[in-house]
Symmetry: C2
Subunit: 237 residues, 2 copies
C-alpha cells in the first residue's frame, strides 16, 4: 500500500472478472461459455467475463453478479470467489488481473433464464460438457479446472452440492448429485447419516412421487437459517 508512484500512473492494469458457472445435466458437469464478441479471441467460446465497472459495481463480486445477469438473466446464483489470475502473460492486451468466481446453479433455473433471454436478444451463452471443453482462450482452462477441483473438494465435507439441486429435492436425488460431482458412488447409509448430522436440510411435508412404480421419497429443502448463509461461508472446514 506504500509506493513511490500514484495510482493514476498505473493505468495499465486491466481489471476483469470471470465466472465459472457450473451446473449438472444428469450425471455430467457442464460449464457456461459465451461467444466472445470482440478481440482478442473474437468469436471464440470463453468464460463469461468483463471489465470491472467502478462506477457501477460495489466490488468485484458485484461485477461478477452483473456479468452473469447480463449474459444469462440469472439474478442471485450461489457465487464464491475462486481466486485471482494475474500477470503479463495471460492477456495479449497487457498486464491484467482477473478475479474469478464460481457459480453453482440448478440446470432448470439456468435454462429458464436463458430461454427468457433468448426471446429478446440473440443468445450468447451456452452450456458445454466440462469434460470436453477443448482449449479455451486466456487461462480459462486453468480457471475451469480450479473451479471443478474446488467444488469437488468442498463437496467432501459440506452441503455445497445442494446449490445444484432445485428448491426441493429428495435425498436420493441429492445423493446422485454428490456422486456426479465427486465422480464416485457413495454409501447410502453413510450419506444419509452425514446429511443428518450436517443438519442443513428439513423435510417438506408431502412426499414426491413422479408417478414411479415404487415407494415415494421424502422431499427436503435447505433450512431457512442456512439458505443465505451457505453463500457466505468461505471454506467451511
Amino acid at each position: 500500500m506504500s509506493d513511490s508512484a500514484t495510482p493514476s500512473l498505473h493505468p495499465s492494469v486491466i481489471c476483469t472478472v470471470d465466472v465459472v458457472l457450473l451446473t449438472l445435466r444428469d450425471t455430467r458437469l457442464e460449464v457456461l461459455l459465451a461467444q466472445r464478441d470482440r478481440a482478442p479471441f473474437e468469436g471464440a467460446w470463453a468464460l463469461p467475463g468483463g471489465f470491472v465497472h467502478p462506477q457501477e459495481d460495489a466490488d468485484a463480486a458485484a461485477s461478477a453478479t452483473r456479468v452473469l445477469r447480463e449474459k444469462t438473466g440469472l439474478e442471485a446464483p450461489y457465487l464464491e470467489q475462486l481466486g485471482t489470475y494475474s500477470g503479463l502473460a495471460r492477456d495479449p492486451r497487457g498486464w491484467s488481473i482477473a478475479v474469478v468466481y464460481c457459480a453453482l446453479v440448478p440446470l432448470e433455473d439456468l435454462e429458464q433464464a436463458l430461454h427468457r433471454r433468448s426471446t429478446t436478444r440473440p443468445s450468447v451463452a451456452r452450456l458445454h460438457d466440462a469434460a470436453n471443453l477443448g482449449r479455451l482462450p486466456f487461462d480459462h482452462d486453468a480457471m475451469v479446472a480450479g473451479a471443478i477441483e474446488r467444488v469437488r473438494s468442498k463437496s467432501q465435507y459440506s452441503s455445497l452440492p445442494v446449490h445444484l439441486c432445485g428448491a426441493e429435492f429428495t435425498l436420493p436425488q441429492l445423493q446422485r448429485t454428490y456422486e456426479a460431482v465427486l465422480g464416485e458412488p457413495l454409501n447410502k447409509v453413510s450419506f444419509r447419516r452425514k446429511m443428518e448430522e450436517l443438519n442443513v436440510l428439513e423435510p417438506v411435508e408431502g412426499a414426491m412421487q413422479g408417478g414411479a412404480a415404487h415407494r415415494p421419497a421424502q422431499l427436503y429443502r435447505v433450512r431457512e437459517a442456512y439458505r443465505q448463509r451457505l453463500s457466505m461461508l468461505e471454506r467451511g472446514l
Copy 2:
C-alpha cells in the same frame, strides 16, 4: 472480457497486493506489520503491501514477493494466495483491488533477515502478536483473520506447518507447532501416525540433543520431492 469500454477508460482501479506474513514465537502466532510511510493512514501499522508494478512484476505473486523482499529482505518464503478484496469502500483513494497473499516463515529466518536489513536502512517492519493487533487500517483485520483461518484449516489435513519450522526439526517440535497453530493439544501417537502416512518427512542421521537431560529426539527434514511442491499446492484435499 467483453465490454463496451476499453481498459484505458478504466484507469481508476487501484491494484495492490498485501501480504499476511505469519510466524510462530513459542506458542503464539505473530503477524508482520509495517509502519505506513504515506497517506492514507500515514504512520499507522498495517500489512506490508504496495502497488502492482506491471513493468517489473511477472504477476501478482511476484509483486508480493517483491514487497516482502523490500520490507524484510526475505528471498523465497512460502507464499500462497488467500483471496482478493475489492470495491469502493475499502480504500479512501477509490475503487481498489487488493490481492492478498499469506506467507509462512520460521521465526529465525525472519529475525535474521530483519536484523541484516536494519544495518542498512531504518527498520519499517515489526512482528505483532496476532491475538492483540488492535484495529488495522483498510480491511486488513479481515485479511489477517482470513489468513489465520486458512492456515488453521489446512493444518488439519496437510503438512503446512512445516513452513513455520526451520530446515531440520524433531517430531515433538513439529507437534508443538501444530498445536500452536490449531490452538489445541494433539494426541502424540495419532500425530506421529499422521506424519508417517503423509510421507513428507525423512529422518536426518544424527539425533538432536540441546543438552537436555533426557533421550534426544530424531531430527527430520522435508523430503526433497516435497520441498518445492508444497508451495505449489492449492488446497491439497
